[in-house]
């Protein structure tokens, strides 16, 4: 054998790798036997394995030959072999035990295989094949065992023989050899027979294989039986052997007789072997021929196919094995064991062969060329077969099928060299190294890197499509309509409902009552607040409203009272006044008016019910303050219980007048030459309040006074008359001026004042937009907070140088001022000379210059009163202190008529009736009231009343010319200080048709005369 090579093999191969490879190349390794394989394994594919085998054989032969040449060596070798055999025997025993174990293992494997079969059928198939292979191996080993048994038998025989006679070991050895050779021959014959049978059954190969599998299994089972049988047989064999021994003994005899005999015997044996060999070769050649024929025939293809199939399968199994290397470690070990077994067997075979070779070598020396040819042919055939097999193989690491394996086994021992896959081994090593490196690398890297579990990325979130969309998608395409069909089952009902109507109750009222203007169940609080807010907001309006309302109410109440009073009085003094249709008395019994007479009464020309009364300080001092002050009371005729306003002035008031239009201010001329203004609109709070008893009186001082301020331009003598000057543009009469127009004009009007010296001064009444309560620096004379002031406009000296004769009667004095109602630029001034001067404000010359008495051109008679006709005729009446009464036309200086009152007492006042153009009233100092009606009588007054019980000092006529609500009357101020208002009878109030005509005729007469 090749121990050196073995060592080298083990050196170069690591056990694991080797295992794998051995497993992979089970068959090969077996076939290869002891051939040199390691180095050439890669090249082997290209080389002819058979040739190698041949070479080896030759080598062996050479060796054998050398052995023969050195018989001692041979003997030695023989000894060694025997020792080996003994050793092997022991080994075999252990191995048999092992095998038993292996068998069990195999069974286990079987089970495992079954499990795996379940998993993978293909795998299973391969495994089965594997198992088959193992079984084959087993079978082989069995065969080997049989051989062993025989050998043992021979050994036993030998031992027995040695016991009996150990004389000639060589001979026994030879005998043994013989025996063995014979055995071998027997075996070979059997094999060849089997082979032939196999060859015959080649076509049914697969079936057979299965069959054989079964057989093999049986065989395995029967192994021990066989052993037993074997023992039984042994006895028979013993018998036979004895027979043989007897023969041998003969032979021994012959051998003993001479070496030649032995030689002969050996020769015989050799011959025998040769014959055997020949036989074998011929059989083989026959087989090969048959195979060749097969090749040519269709059978060959089948054969090839089967082989190929097997090979493919094998290939697969190999792969499988590789993949399942780890799990088949046990396997591998088993295989190894087997392998060793085989090696051992091979060794045995080898030895036998060596022996045979010995013979053959001997033979070869004398081998005939014919024989060589035969051998050559056989080799060629083998080569061919091998080649064919090789070509059929895709890879060199393929285990052969059982048939070929057996063939190779029995035909020629090692045919192919075992192929060891260095590449894969290297690769494995490299990959291991790499893996190691990578592992190291990964360890190092993992230290540097943080791997983290990422949050789950949502790759797709496709929400389910709702039914309607799906429906639309499927059916909502063009040319389709959606229809709604409903059967009664799902009786759906639909109703549509709008939101409920909100209903709340609310109310509203205008003007707002109590607090709220509107309200409701819910918002009452809010609206209440709102309304209260509005209420506070409108408080001023309310106060104004209340003021007027109270005024109205007061008037009504006063009227009631007055009526009852007057009625009572009328009853009491039935015929007090013939002209009177009723009267009322102004309540002048006021504390501050106590014991004061009335010096003047004046009615407003627009608001006819309003009058003012001037109460100069009384001669006797009273307990009350304001003794020296003149009190002016503004009355509403219908509210006689108390005066509307109470005005105070420190100096004596000589004359006074209302503002034109509405009664907003009162103007007065004083005895000290000043003109004062009271603004009646001023709030009562800014004035002095006098509390007398339970009543509170507001006493007003003048808003503006020209007293000291306008000393340069003001009057230096007592002012005798103040008159408002209406705009010249106004053609209409004063009576026609409506309040509206007046309002539109505002307060812008002129005021004329005349003092005793005849200085006529025109003032412009200016209303300031805003009062200054802290007092004004520029507007001196203006009361703090006052809004009305007078601006000096112009001054005209009306008195001219009069003729000397007039001058002799004393200094001229102006007493009365009147403006022509139709043209306010014309003024008429009554003088103390019985004359009425006529002039214009613009100093134009107008005629007549004087209106004089019919009888006396010039005499010292004061013109006490002057009054224009309110009917529009240019006529005026002049009353004189000598009791004469003249009716003048504007155009003529002589009077139209001149009367002299009966007793010649001075005339205090003459006033036209406001309702009847031809009626006028005259009051004389003797307290006689004369009523003239020119339509009835132009010589004497129609009515003359003498009021004696309480002398009348002042008279003022009032009346409303408008057709509806027409009234007229006269206010009479008595000596006692009371003011009595007498309403005229209807005859004196209502104008007749003749009135104007009469007046006109009078006027016409004037011109005619």
């Amino acid at each position: 054998m090749h121990p050196i090579k073995k060592i080298s093999k083990e050196d170069t191969w690591r056990s694991d790798d080797l295992k794998v490879h051995i497993q992979g190349h089970n068959e090969e390794s077996r076939r290869k036997g002891r051939s040199k394989r390691d180095e050439e394994s890669l090249d082997r594919q290209h080389r002819d394995p058979d040739r190698d085998a041949r070479r080896e054989k030759e080598k062996h032969r050479d060796r054998e030959g050398s052995k023969h040449r050195e018989p001692e060596k041979d003997r030695h070798l023989e000894n060694r072999t025997q020792e080996d055999r003994e050793h092997r025997y022991k080994e075999k025993r252990t191995e048999r035990e092992k095998r038993d174990e292996d068998k069990e293992r195999e069974e286990k494997k079987h089970n495992r295989g079954e499990k795996e079969r379940r998993r993978d059928r293909e795998k299973e198939r391969y495994k089965e094949q594997d198992i088959e292979m193992y079984k084959q191996q087993d079978r082989d080993t069995e065969r080997v065992k049989e051989k062993d048994r025989e050998r043992r038998r021979t050994e036993r025989d030998r031992e027995r023989r040695s016991e009996r006679d150990k004389r000639n070991e060589e001979k026994t050895e030879i005998k043994d050899l013989d025996e063995r050779v014979r055995d071998k021959e027997r075996e070979r014959e059997e094999r060849t027979e089997r082979h032939k049978a196999r060859e015959n059954d080649h076509r049914q190969h697969k079936y057979e294989e299965k069959h054989r599998d079964g057989e093999r299994r049986e065989r395995h089972r029967d192994k021990e039986h066989k052993e037993r049988e074997h023992r039984r047989d042994r006895e028979d064999k013993e018998w036979r052997r004895r027979d043989k021994e007897s023969n041998e003994a003969d032979r021994r005899h012959s051998q003993e007789a001479g070496i030649k005999d032995g030689e002969k015997a050996s020769e015989r044996e050799e011959r025998h072997i040769r014959q055997d060999k020949r036989h074998r070769e011929t059989s083989e050649s026959k087989r090969h021929d048959g195979e060749r024929k097969h090749k040519e025939s269709s059978g060959h293809e089948q054969n090839e196919r089967t082989i190929r199939d097997k090979e493919v399968e094998n290939h697969k199994t190999e792969e499988d094995k590789k993949s399942s290397k780890d799990c088949h470690n046990d396997y591998e070990e088993d295989f190894e064991d087997y392998e060793e077994d085989f090696e051992d067997v091979d060794d045995d075979e080898e030895e036998e062969k060596e022996i045979i070779h010995d013979d053959t070598v001997k033979e070869d020396t004398e081998l005939s060329p014919r024989r060589r040819e035969e051998i050559e042919a056989i080799r060629r055939a083998m080569d061919e077969e091998n080649e064919r097999i090789y070509f059929a193989r895709s890879k060199p690491t393929i285990t052969e099928s059982s048939v070929t394996e057996r063939e190779s086994l029995f035909n020629s021992g090692p045919k192919h060299g075992k192929i060891i896959d260095f590449v894969s081994a290297k690769q494995r090593e490299i990959s291991l190294k790499l893996a190691h490196k990578q592992k190291k690398r990964s360890e190092e890297l993992l230290r540097l890197i943080d791997l983290d579990f990422s949050i789950t990325f949502s790759l797709l979130d496709l929400p389910p499509v709702n039914e309607y969309d799906m429906y639309i998608k499927n059916f909502g395409t063009a040319n389709t309509k959606q229809a709604y069909v409903q059967c009664n089952e799902d009786n759906t009902d639909r109703d549509i409902q709008t939101e409920e109507v909100d209903m709340t109750e609310k109310w509203t009222q205008h003007p707002p009552e109590s607090k709220a203007a509107c309200g409701g169940s819910e918002v009452s609080q809010e609206t209440a607040d709102e309304s209260t807010a509005r209420m506070t907001f409108d408080s001023q309006r309310l106060t104004t409203f209340l003021r007027s309302a109270t005024q109205v109410m007061a008037v009504l109440i006063e009227e009631n009272n007055a009526q009852s009073n007057s009625l009572r009085r009328l009853r009491s003094q039935t015929d007090a006044l013939s002209f009177s249709d009723g009267s009322l008395q102004l309540n002048t019994r006021l504390p501050f008016l106590h014991s004061r007479q009335v010096s003047l009464l004046q009615f407003s020309q627009v608001q006819r019910q309003t009058l003012l009364s001037v109460h100069p300080p009384a001669s006797k001092t009273s307990a009350v303050r304001m003794d020296n002050e003149t009190v002016i009371c503004v009355w509403n005729m219908w509210e006689p219980s108390r005066p509307q306003k109470i005005l105070l002035n420190e100096s004596e008031v000589k004359c006074c007048c209302f503002s034109p239009g509405r009664v907003t201010s009162v103007f007065a001329g004083t005895a000290v030459g000043s003109v004062v203004v009271w603004d009646l609109r001023e709030h009562s709070g800014t004035h002095y309040n006098l509390v007398v008893g339970t009543e509170e009186w507001t006493l007003r001082f003048p808003t503006f006074s020209t007293d000291c301020v306008l000393s340069g331009v003001g009057h230096l003598s007592p002012v005798v008359s103040v008159e408002p000057v209406l705009a010249t543009a106004e053609k209409s009469l004063k009576s026609f001026i409506t309040t509206d127009i007046e309002e539109s004009l505002g307060m812008s009007f002129q005021l004329a004042s005349l003092d005793e010296n005849g200085l006529l001064t025109l003032w412009v009444v200016v209303e300031l937009p805003k009062g200054n309560y802290s007092g004004s620096q520029t507007n001196l004379g203006l009361r703090p907070g006052g809004k009305v002031k007078l601006l000096h406009s112009s001054s005209t000296q009306t008195t001219e140088r009069l003729s000397q004769d007039i001058m002799t009667y004393g200094p001229p004095a102006s007493l009365q001022l009147k403006f022509l109602p139709s043209d306010s630029s014309h003024y008429f001034i009554g003088t103390n000379m019985g004359l009425v001067r006529h002039g214009t404000r613009h100093s134009l010359k107008v005629l007549p210059k004087y209106y004089r008495s019919q009888f006396h051109s010039c005499r010292p008679v004061e013109v006490t009163t002057l009054d224009f006709s309110p009917s529009g005729e240019p006529l005026f009446l002049v009353g004189c202190s000598d009791g004469t009464l003249r009716l003048h036309s504007v155009l003529k200086d002589d009077p139209l008529m001149e009367w002299t009152c009966s007793d010649g007492s001075p005339i205090l006042s003459v006033q036209w009736s406001l309702t009847r153009p031809a009626v006028f009233f005259v009051l004389d100092a003797a307290s006689n009231l004369h009523i003239w009606d020119l339509t009835l009588n132009d010589y004497v007054p129609v009515i003359t009343e003498n009021i004696q019980n309480d002398r009348v000092t002042v008279m003022a006529v009032f009346g409303e010319p408008a057709k509806q609500n027409r009234f007229s009357g006269v206010a009479l101020a008595k000596q006692s200080g009371t003011v009595e208002i007498q309403y005229f009878t209807r005859s004196l109030t209502v104008p007749g048709d003749s009135d104007k005509e009469k007046l006109h005729s009078v006027w016409q007469d004037l011109f005619l005369t």
Partner: protein, 121 residues
């Protein structure tokens, strides 16, 4: 391979970093191109999805994400109105590794393509 730990390239060059936006663009283009007008056919879809994945992978490979292992997954399904949810979890180094996802839906099928770029240190 040096054993020195400091010589490892732990972070990719920014130029070669796996950019999800770029990848997404590519994927969108590919999906649009390949799937526009395609009707769901259960027999063709497996091959189609495989080819799509390959196309995307090749495209991404050409995009120059160096040292990146690219994993492309393409899922296609029929659009029948059912809801579909799909998610992925990764154990990776979030600094270097990223993924891009693109979706294509038409009225017969939906397709989700996800590309994971894992840096190869």
């Amino acid at each position: 391979m040096e054993t020195d730990a400091s010589s490892y390239l732990i972070r990719p060059n920014y130029k070669h970093k796996f950019k999800a936006g770029v990848a997404k663009e590519y994927m969108r283009d590919i999906l649009r191109e390949e799937l526009s007008g395609v009707q769901y056919n259960p027999e063709e879809i497996p091959t189609l999805s495989r080819s799509l994945a390959d196309t995307i992978k090749n495209k991404l490979k050409a995009a120059g994400f160096e040292r990146y292992k690219l994993i492309v997954q393409v899922v296609m399904g029929e659009q029948r109105g059912e809801g579909v949810k799909m998610a992925a979890r990764c154990l990776w180094d979030a600094d270097t590794d990223s993924y891009a996802q693109e979706m294509y839906v038409n009225d017969s099928l939906f397709c989700v393509a996800a590309a994971f770029g894992v840096y190869y240190y």
